[in-house]
């Protein structure tokens, strides 16, 4: 115990990771209502997801097991302000290996969707979404490429159907998110 006593006050403060006032008991229900995340509460923290995650192998900051636990505990703000949620590549190894069929990557996706809706999204997703809205493609295909296709004897590209995409962005409510992001 003497070691603990020697710790400076601030360090102890930092180690107090859970405060009852930081916990939102409804958060786990909010997330588990999202399609794909229904089995969130079945996670028994075995850590297979983190052990098999190719990203966790190369960085200490991404730990899927820990993210799931934080959601179960209702640490809403800490989870949603955690940039590491954007590091999942969607390789679905965790989904295939989970003994409880939690659908870990889908929980991470639910968290990302919530952050995008309530807070902000990484620039790259804003760019991809804007490009889809503008052209129907995730990347704007340069005119040079389109001309080269003709030279190579390739058929014309699909035209992108921008009008219907604009309508769908609106009806799903995604255009509001994107407009806020651009402000």
């Amino acid at each position: 115990m003497s070691e603990t006593e020697k710790e400076p006050e601030k360090a102890i403060e930092e180690r107090i990771v859970l405060r009852i006032t930081d916990m939102d008991p409804k958060f786990k229900y909010e997330i588990s209502r999202t399609p794909g995340s229904e089995k969130l509460m079945l996670c028994f923290q075995c850590g297979t997801c983190t052990a098999d995650c190719p990203i966790a192998r190369f960085t200490d900051s991404y730990r899927p097991r820990k993210l799931i636990r934080m959601v179960q505990l209702g640490l809403r703000d800490r989870v949603l302000s955690n940039d590491s949620i954007w590091l999942c590549t969607n390789c679905f190894t965790c989904v295939d290996h989970c003994p409880q069929d939690v659908g870990t990557a889908e929980v991470v996706r639910a968290l990302r969707n919530l952050v995008a809706k309530e807070r902000s999204m990484p620039r790259v997703y804003e760019d991809l979404s804007s490009s889809i809205l503008k052209t129907g493609y995730a990347y704007e295909i340069p005119q040079l490429r389109i001309r080269k296709r003709e030279e190579q004897g390739l058929p014309p590209l699909p035209k992108g159907d921008v009008d219907t995409i604009r309508k769908l962005f609106k009806t799903t409510g995604f255009s509001k998110t994107l407009e806020r992001e651009k402000e």
């Binding site: 190369f58 390789c91 809706k117 979404s129 493609y137 699909p158 159907d161 009806t171």
Partner: protein, 293 residues
């Protein structure tokens, strides 16, 4: 059915026309030779993959819209990109099973006068080759077996996982692409961590981790003595081919491993010329490999 009609709606996606047309060119060449008819679909858009992280509903809706177009044509979809396959196949199966979800997505689609009915099937090029055309027919098309060649494969995540939705290959020990390689006469080498992700989907968020992942893979491929890497996804291909010089610079290592699209490999075995198969479009030169043949 005695003789299946080999006719598909081609779903090209975004990455191929943007950066990786060599994949499209070589695919069209080999499928033409194998008697497959590709139908162009002028109204297709992005599959929806890039939208999933920020708005799942919008991803579902965009994918369902593309699927409804294929239903209208009464044809199955063939994708060349793992990402497009993953999204379209997953959404197609999910909407077929989940009536509540389908009703919600169809509410959105009503806005544009469309409806998801659940009458199409989504296949990736490797499924069309291995299941519909079949190994036997591909073997018959090989005129110039690539016997001296030793290669490794990177199948890529979304044609293996999640197994619940893909189901055609064993994600712990995928064999489809390996068998397709062996049909060309080339030797296919095993290596460590061959089922791991390329890392490319997060390169716009964090460039360091994907480069480390790709370096790890290239090192493992080099260690077994593979002369080339074979891929079936434009996104994975970009990671290993386009970014290979960047990886070499970042870690001060030299790989020089050419990365061929599977149709380029098969095309060479069919006796096509490197120019016909757009091999000169590769970032990492394949000239040493071609000299072996």
């Amino acid at each position: 059915m005695a003789e299946q009609e080999l006719k598909y709606l081609l779903f090209l996606g975004c990455v191929i026309p943007y950066r990786v047309s060599s994949y499209e060119i070589s695919t069209r060449k080999i499928l033409d030779k194998l008697g497959v008819e590709l139908v162009e679909m002028p109204d297709f858009t992005c599959c929806g993959f890039p939208l999933d992280p920020v708005n799942h509903e919008m991803m579902l809706t965009l994918a369902a819209r593309n699927l409804s177009l294929a239903e209208q044509q009464n044809l199955n979809i063939m994708t060349l990109c793992n990402g497009c396959f993953g999204v379209l196949n997953h959404v197609n199966k999910e909407l077929k099973e989940d009536k509540k979800l389908r009703a919600r997505v169809n509410e959105y689609l009503k806005e544009i006068g469309r409806e998801f009915k659940g009458t199409t099937t989504v296949k990736h090029l490797i499924h069309v080759l291995s299941e519909d055309i079949g190994f036997e027919r591909i073997r018959e098309s090989v005129k110039k077996p690539l016997n001296p060649l030793k290669v490794a494969v990177h199948t890529g995540c979304h044609v293996m996982r999640p197994a619940k939705y893909v189901g055609s290959d064993d994600p712990e020990n995928p064999t489809l692409l390996k068998k397709l390689v062996r049909v060309t006469g080339a030797e296919c080498l095993d290596y460590i961590d061959e089922n791991e992700c390329c890392g490319n989907p997060i390169i716009g968020v964090n460039s360091q981790i994907p480069l480390q992942l790709a370096r790890h893979k290239l090192n493992n491929i080099k260690a077994v003595g593979a002369q080339a890497l074979i891929t079936v996804c434009p996104f994975c291909h970009m990671m290993y081919d386009l970014h290979q010089p960047r990886i070499e610079r970042a870690f001060n290592e030299k790989f020089g491993i050419p990365v061929l699209h599977y149709p380029q490999l098969l095309g060479l075995a069919m006796g096509m010329t490197p120019d016909e198969l757009a091999l000169k479009d590769l970032r990492v030169s394949a000239s040493e490999v071609l000299a072996l043949l």
